[in-house]
């Protein structure tokens, strides 16, 4: 059950982002999770309801979108969507494939309401910076 540790790391990043953007309340946290990340989504949802208490995301919904496991065959160059325990090329059956998607564990975006009308200190058009 490492999902609680993952949630705590997630909430740290959410709070950091919220501070930079003068956010009063986070309403939604959107993740993109691949089956090969080792995260179980139902466990993550449960852990989030515990870990969010007392944070700026206290009332936030967690939306975790699951990404497909996609591979590219190094022999025939075909791309296939496969199951997490069988990363074989669907065309030629070769096992020498490269993962192109499916191990992600990414905080994609957060939705929020601002505490003030004025723009945040960081540039809206630039990358979100962390120090």
């Amino acid at each position: 059950m490492h999902e609680l540790a993952v949630c705590q790391a997630l909430l740290q990043q959410v709070e950091q982002t919220a501070r930079q953007h003068a956010v009063s309340e986070v309403t939604k946290v959107v993740l993109r999770i691949g089956p090969l990340s080792g995260i179980e989504l139902p466990l993550l949802q449960q852990a989030f309801t515990v870990a969010r208490r007392g944070t700026i995301a206290d009332k936030a919904d967690l939306v975790a979108e699951e990404l497909p496991v996609r591979i590219r065959c190094t022999r025939c160059r075909t791309e296939s969507t496969v199951s997490a325990s069988r990363l074989l090329c669907m065309v030629c059956g070769d096992w020498r494939t490269r993962l192109i998607s499916g191990d992600e564990m990414v905080l994609a975006s957060i939705e929020m309401t601002r505490s003030q009308r004025s723009p945040p200190q960081t540039e809206l058009t630039g990358d979100v910076n962390y120090v």
Binding site: R70, A84, L87, M105, T125
Partner: protein, 259 residues
């Protein structure tokens, strides 16, 4: 993996991750900030720092993982008996409770730091970093990090190791790689342990275990061994020795030549 922040955003999956602009309005009128950062960014940052420590001191760090009872500590004892005469070994032990494993290692004359995680089911890069402060890395060639016995959680946390080694004992199922793909997909070596028990166990086939590993697109070598009889230990010690030599050579080549 992205070199900037360690996230898993690549050209292969980027289109799946971006759904809207960096700051987009939602239908409810609230704003959306695009972040695109790995959830374990802090851990990964610490892991890179740990790896730098290892590299500065020419230490080869190996993360040893398995389910509970597969024989990690026993293998370490046998490895120390074979390697400690000309290489310096250090061990970080991860367990939920007790100092027992570290004591077993120390009784062999090897420095060992015990991390007791309490209820945590895995080691993380911060815990390992704290343990490193109790070891003299300059006096170590191999650092073995014995992770908490668990085939699930340790797979998600980079500790800064150079190599992952996963034990699969013959008393388990030979389909473990298929059942725990996150762990076995990333392993650099699969050790089939307790091979001396194989004659008594008809339903474990090392070839099947290796086949399941290949089905995860993992080319890693498999070594069958027994810490009890010594079978396979030469091949294992040769494997770690070769990787130490390789990493030392790589670092030498990478270092600028002083005038």
């Amino acid at each position: 993996m992205c070199d900037t922040c360690g996230c898993n955003v690549t050209s292969g999956n980027e289109h799946l991750l971006h759904s809207h602009g960096k700051l987009a309005r939602t239908t409810e009128g609230s704003e959306s900030i695009e972040v695109l950062r790995d959830l374990l960014h802090e851990n990964d940052h610490q892991a890179r720092h740990n790896r730098e420590h290892f590299d500065q001191h020419d230490v080869l760090a190996i993360n040893l993982m398995s389910s509970p009872g597969a024989g990690k500590t026993r293998l370490l004892e046998a490895t120390i008996d074979r390697l400690a005469h000309d290489k310096q070994i250090g061990v970080v032990e991860g367990d939920l409770e007790t100092e027992r494993d570290a004591q077993r290692i120390r009784s062999k004359g090897v420095p060992a730091v015990q991390i007791t995680t309490g209820s945590a089911c895995h080691l993380d890069a911060h815990l390992v970093h704290e343990a490193l402060h109790q070891l003299d890395l300059a006096a170590i060639d191999f650092l073995f990090i014995e992770n908490v016995g668990n085939l699930v959680c340790p797979a998600s946390f980079d500790l800064g190791q150079h190599l992952n080694v996963t034990l699969l004992s013959v008393t388990e199922g030979d389909d473990k790689p298929a059942k725990y793909p996150v762990m076995f997909r990333q392993t650099d070596l699969m050790l089939i342990s307790k091979i001396d028990l194989l004659p008594h166990l008809t339903d474990f086939d090392p070839r099947q275990a290796e086949l399941h590993l290949r089905q995860l697109a993992n080319p890693a070598q498999t070594i069958c061994l027994s810490a009890q009889t010594g079978e396979g230990l030469d091949a294992w010690c040769q494997w770690v020795g070769e990787h130490l030599a390789q990493s030392t050579q790589t670092r030498r080549l990478a270092k600028p030549v002083s005038a």
